[in-house]
Amino acid sequence: MNILTYLIPISLILGGVGLVAFVYTVRSNQYDDPEGDARRILSDDWDDHPKP
């Protein structure tokens, strides 16, 4: 059972990373235009040079 000492913190940290990532996406307005973003990824406008 000693393995729990590692497993529980690891699972909590991994879950916490997911939560922090989600909070980041919300804060950086990534849900404002889901439809547009889904299409934008297909456009090749900025393929050769990054958007300034």
Binding site: M1, L4, I8, S11, L12, G15, G16, G18, L19, F22, V23, V26, N29, Y31, D32, D33, P34, E35, G36, R39, R40, L42, S43, D45
Partner: protein, 727 residues
């Protein structure tokens, strides 16, 4: 540069120069924030094409297209106008409309929704972790291991609930402070009691802790709240977009100079120029010019009214033929348009009497749960004289009966139904509008602008002699008056060519005249052509000294009006037509659509009174209207619909807005509303069945945390799935 002239303490000269440059930029005029509505964009090519064109404009700093909202937001140099941007996008072949940035900015970031989403995410994360720990406890962890799991669960649960539960705590506190009970009171009580007893149990190394239940409860309820919020936020943003489409501008004349200003900046006594086709921005008096004005949005009359110097005009009326200069006598909130709001407020007080199904359920449910839980506490305490057991069982009862499914029952269905109706072009603005729409048995329609498009349509073309039509066409084709345009359109469509008429001149407010072979011809108002005025909408043609001929018009029907009428009659509803227009016009339309009951020449107060009377008879009235004269009736009705072309005031007063031009979704909407209400009731029943099974177990003290978790998840999932069955 500063850096070269004297040494700076900073190692990097650019670092100190940058803030200075920023400060300089801040002192300049703020950049123009322009928003455009782009209703026709649909693909990634549209996005890149528009963005590239806008960003290539030298004065545009940045432009971004939002495909979900079908909107472009542009950040440009201060001198760039929205009109310029609109023309640029139209040039690319996309429909574009200017949006009033001021109206939109207020809600640009949906803070409340983001807040709820964040709390939902934390609750979801915490409940998953705690649930996993609980699974090990249920599978037989014992002694020290179980205690450790309980302590870890407690460590996750307490901060998570403290953060996620805030909306419930706040609502419950607000209700309790006012001495009322709402759905949130039992929720908060259950959460708090569950945590307190679980902590106590954990301290005493007990077997049952409800940390997972408390978190799952918060998570499911927050999911319901979020759905609810989203549905309303979508409706609100669409409604705001409609308002933002009408950019309130007026042309002020000062010392002979015209300037375009915001309507909000006008003051009493200002001289305002209203061009033909423009709407009066304020109440006032005509000081210069003659014209005809269309008051249909205010009164429902389709017949244009003559307007000359000294005559009073009200905000909302449309100037038809000649330019007018008016002196403002009332601006902003003082205008007759806004004074109508008082009528609306009075009528609206009646509507708040409606209690939603959810409130009705809460009213039955909240006291019931508290009494049941209290009784089981007392019962077990008297039976065992053990505080711990009694409190444990009371908490189990509260958790199991907690309105998890009830909290989801309504939002899940309304989200599904609103989404479906939105795709058909209906915007549900009010949260209980669907429930009220389902009860409707009487439908009252306004005529002008609602059943008809408000654009005239020539009716007696075939009865007119050929040369008369050709003369009328020659006189009408240069005018922007709606009747002249309708004549031109009808005559051209029938293949007539304009006659040779010399010296065609438009006399604003009267009509158009010209010369044929030395004889004067006139097309215009009855008094001006020497004709007897008919009761219906008409214009008169006088050739030389011959008797004047009448060209009669009716309003073109709005598309889908007949289908909507058929669907409503088929659905067993009583249909009534109520209009401020003249009797013959209303009667003709009623016959055309087969409406047995109609009422003409109704004043705004008459309409509202009639709706009130119907309501007093026990009818549930659906009012469909668009004009200012309908606003009071819209607010007085049980539920109301207005088309997107309606005045802002009417749209605000109504519960549902029709986005397209078509009326036919109304019939289908009633059906959808009915089935949505049926689903809501079913959901309540499902939740009740779960309670009937689980509550006796809880009261008997047999409910373990495992049973609580199962009952809660199962009922929530069944309720959500049932909502998705909605057609």
């Amino acid at each position: 540069m500063t850096a070269t002239m004297r040494p700076t303490p900073s190692a990097c000269p650019a670092c100190s120069a940058a803030p200075a440059a920023e400060a300089l930029a801040a002192r300049e005029l703020p950049n123009a924030q322009i928003a455009l509505s782009l209703p026709t964009i649909h693909c990634s090519a549209c996005i890149s094409k528009i963005e590239r064109a806008l960003n290539d404009h030298p004065q545009v700093n940045s432009a971004r297209v939002n495909l979900t909202l079908k909107r472009a937001s542009i950040d440009a140099a201060p001198e760039v106008t929205a009109e310029e941007m609109r023309a640029l996008v139209e040039g690319l072949g996309y429909e574009a409309h200017e949006l009033d940035a001021g109206t939109l900015n207020a809600t640009a970031t949906d803070k409340a929704g983001r807040d709820l989403l964040m709390r939902l995410a934390v609750a979801g994360f915490a409940s998953m972790n705690v649930m996993l720990l609980s699974v090990s406890v249920w599978s037989g962890a014992e002694d020290a291991t179980r205690d450790m799991f309980h302590w870890i669960s407690a460590a996750i649960t307490l901060p998570a609930i403290a953060f996620s539960g805030v909306p419930f705590f706040r609502n419950a506190w607000a209700a309790l402070r006012n001495g009322r009970l709402n759905m949130d009171v039992p929720i908060v009580l259950a959460i708090v009691l569950a945590i307190v007893t679980s902590l106590w149990e954990t301290m005493l190394s007990g077997a049952h802790a409800y940390f997972d239940a408390a978190l799952a409860l918060t998570f499911f309820l927050l999911a319901g709240r979020y759905l609810d919020h989203r549905t309303r936020a979508i409706a609100r943003s669409a409604a705001e977009e409609l308002t933002a489409l009408e950019v309130p501008r007026a042309t002020r004349v000062r010392d002979g100079v015209e300037e375009v200003v915001n309507v909000a900046d006008l003051a009493v006594g200002d001289l305002i120029l209203v061009r033909p086709g423009g709407r009066m921005p304020v109440d006032g008096e005509i000081v210069q010019g003659t014209s005809e004005i269309d008051r249909s949005l205010l009164t429902g009359e389709t017949l244009p009214v003559f307007a000359g110097e000294g005559q009073a005009v009200s905000a909302g009326e449309v100037n038809l033929t000649g330019p007018l200069i008016i002196r403002a006598s009332a601006v902003g909130a003082e205008t007759s348009l806004h004074r109508m709001a008082d009528l609306v407020a009075i009528a609206e007080s009646g509507r708040s009497r409606y209690t939603s199904l959810a409130d009705k359920a809460a009213k039955l449910y909240a006291p019931g749960v508290h009494i049941l839980s209290g009784l089981s506490f007392i019962g077990w305490y008297l039976y065992t004289w053990d505080m711990r057991t009694a409190l444990n069982i009371a908490a189990a009862v509260l958790i199991i009966t907690c309105p998890c499914a009830l909290g989801l029952a309504v939002p899940a269905v309304t989200t599904a139904a609103s989404g479906r109706l939105f795709r058909r072009g209906m915007l549900i603005k009010h949260e209980t509008a669907l429930e009220r729409l389902a009860q409707v048995d009487t439908v009252v329609f306004d005529k002008t602008g609602t059943l008809t498009t408000g654009t005239p349509h020539l009716t007696n073309l075939d009865a007119l002699p050929r040369d008369a039509v050709e003369t009328a066409l020659a006189l009408a084709q240069g005018s922007s008056h709606p009747l002249a345009q309708a004549t031109t359109k009808a005559a051209r469509a029938a293949g007539y060519a304009a006659a040779e008429v010399a010296d065609v001149t438009e006399v604003p407010g009267y009509g158009t005249k010209g010369l044929i072979a030395g004889e004067e011809v006139r097309l215009g108002r009855a008094s001006w052509t020497g004709a007897e005025g008919l009761a219906q909408t008409a214009t008169y043609l006088k050739i030389g000294d011959a008797a004047p001929l009448a060209l009669t018009f009716t309003d073109a029907l709005r598309p889908g009006a007949e289908e909507a009428m058929q669907a409503l009659v088929k659905g067993g509803k009583r249909v009534i037509l109520m209009s401020g227009d003249t009797t013959p016009a209303v009667e003709a339309l009623a016959q055309r659509l087969g409406i047995p009951q109609w009422m003409a020449e109704a004043l705004p107060a008459d309409k509202a009174a009639r709706v009130e009377a119907l309501r007093a008879e026990g009818a549930h009235v659906l009012m469909v209207g668009d004009g200012l004269n309908d606003t009071a009736a819209l607010a007085a009705a049980h539920v109301s619909i207005s088309p997107a072309t309606a005045l802002d005031a009417a749209r605000v007063a109504s519960d549902i807005v029709l986005l397209g031009n078509d009326l036919s979704p109304i019939g289908a909407a009633c059906e959808t509303a009915k089935s949505a209400t049926r689903r809501i009731r079913e959901n309540f029943r499902i939740a009740t069945v779960y309670n009937i099974i689980a509550v006796p177990l809880a009261v008997a003290g047999l409910a373990t945390p495992l049973i609580a978790a199962l009952a809660m998840s199962l009922s929530s999932i069944t309720v959500s799935l049932n909502a998705l069955r909605l057609r």
